[in-house]
Symmetry: C2
Subunit: 346 residues, 2 copies
């Protein structure tokens, strides 16, 4: 099959590799219908050291089950499924508590298991991981895009709002106008936030943010951006801050704009290990810190039903569709900010 | 009046100072019945630089209202009241959201307003700050001790459990066997925690911890302590970690023992500003960080009613009672760990 392999910063290739096969009796093989490129794929695209054996890429996929292992009972050949970006058994104590990305028998797609920017995928823990899409019928492109968005990007934005416990009537600040930040705006709006301040400076993106519920857009960054948000919130700050970037300046903005007792919820993978959390940043004002890799699986059944019912359409984050052979160009377009998020159609 | 003043590390004196008087029409003057020394008073006792003018000490008090300003309507001369360690108007948006220690018109006792290890106290924002004790009658010493414990220590432990959202059946780890840590054990037990692991090594203290609900005591610290707690929790870690120390090793233990999706709730004032919060500490496992100065006022009416009804008796943290002239010895006894917490009777 054709698959995406990265050999170093900026060096993405599409190559012919062996088809995946059932390794464990709990595996399934899924034939790709739509996959995509993630903002987080740009981190290795910027910084991956030369890697002679290459790293197989991609972790977002919808497709059709082609084969299942002998222990798989909940999905079968021909089922149309969502593949969340982490696999999990959906039964261990941690999954039962809703944190599937830390499943005791789970893991992530990529080197080892195999990446999902490829024609076929091996999915471990298939019974726990895969969620069938019922009554798909002849889904149009927009529906497929929205279903694909549930494998990571939208439900990562949703996770930010969920962990911040966004309540009706609250003031929410979203930091970052990438596809996850915009998804966080949509999720906060759906939870009933009254004021949603989007911190971002790319007009084509913040326009989608406004369409999805942002009431204010703040282009300023740093102290200037913090002052602007504080002013917009009557001097009190935001109840919830959804941080969808992962760099230290975004974290600093987050604790600058959070109100006493408020919650900072991070879903941008932190590109730092240490950060201010003492009296001067979080402690004095009882500000809370939450977030992590989204346990997409926990939210998937409900979100699939909303997409199929036409209530939820997060697929608008995809503004370009390519074929598998054009994946290297897709990385370049996202890195150049010519594309917000690139979908791969098979 | 006689009052406690600190002039530098280890230099605590009881001196005659002018009686406080009404400054703002919202003030009240309270005559002390019981006050005490806080574990947090030991931080300046260790490290305060020479201070020629001295720093007035103390922030925990129960007493009788002696005089009120012209704008005070909710308390009157003769009322028996609890003075929470922070004053607040109890009406601003932040107070209404339950975070009185960040009240827009509030502040802390000590230099400026005056400390509470003294015969009389000026209490700003008296209507918002003071909580009357109804039906006190001829309260015995134990009841007075328990009421005093509500001004800070017990409700600080309670705040830790509250912000960690401790639920019935959960596993809780409490770090620190000081008076706040033991209070956190009691609060976790009252919220229905099933397993309460107390990390501490002072047997006389951990004995009170066991009496209050600790099911396990772990004397080990660092990696060894973390490994012990993880083992005691079936390899999963604790749902809630109540951190009542404030030093970096305690924080490191906290993120070591918290389970995926769990909450670290800090009430020990952090003696650090930066700490690990990235992928390797909090983020990968969706661990959350909460806590700060306890908004005692938010919890006070309910707790007073529980003490008066005899359901709650946190006063056992006081294991020594002294008069005002002996306060310097009280600091020394707490610093030497000869006393857990020292009460001052007037």
């Amino acid at each position: 099959m054709r698959a995406t392999v990265m050999y170093g910063a900026g060096d993405v290739r599409v190559e012919t590799v062996p088809d995946p096969s059932i390794v464990e009796p709990t595996d399934a093989i899924v034939r790709s219908v739509r996959a995509c490129i993630c903002g987080s794929d740009l981190h290795p695209y910027h910084s991956l050291q030369q890697l002679p054996q290459g790293a197989t890429m991609g972790h977002e996929l919808i497709g059709v089950v082609e084969e299942v292992g002998s222990a798989v009972t909940k999905v079968a050949k021909g089922d149309f499924v969502i593949v969340p970006f982490a696999f999990s058994d959906n039964t261990c104590p941690i999954c039962q508590e809703g944190f599937h990305t830390a499943c005791l028998h789970g893991g992530f797609f990529g080197p080892g298991v195999g990446g999902l920017q490829a024609e076929l995928a091996r999915v471990p823990q298939a019974d726990g991981t895969l969620v069938k899409v019922p009554d798909l019928g002849d889904a149009d492109d927009a529906t497929l895009a929205s279903l694909l968005a549930l494998s990571d990007v939208y439900l990562t934005g949703y996770h930010a709002a969920h962990m911040a416990d966004v309540q009706p009537g609250q003031i929410v600040t979203v930091i970052g106008d990438g596809a996850v930040g915009l998804s966080a705006v949509l999720a906060a709006k759906r939870r009933g936030a009254e004021q949603i301040i989007l911190m971002g400076r790319h007009e084509s993106r913040t326009d989608l943010g406004r369409e999805w519920g942002a009431t204010d857009v703040v282009a300023e960054r740093g102290d200037e951006g913090v002052a602007k948000v504080v002013e917009l919130t009557g001097g009190l700050g935001a109840h919830a801050v959804l941080e969808a970037v992962g760099h230290m300046p975004a974290y600093q903005q987050a604790y600058g704009v959070v109100r006493p007792g408020g919650i900072i919820s991070r879903v941008g993978v932190p590109q730092y290990e240490e950060a201010p959390v003492g009296f001067g940043s979080l402690f004095a004002k009882n500000a809370r810190l939450a977030g992590g890799p989204a346990p997409v699986r926990a939210y998937l059944e409900e979100a699939v039903a909303q997409v199929v019912a036409g209530e939820l359409a997060p697929g608008k984050v995809f503004d370009r569709t390519i074929g598998i052979e054009d994946v290297p160009d897709g990385y370049q377009a996202m890195d150049d900010r010519e594309a917000l998020k690139v979908m791969i159609a098979f």
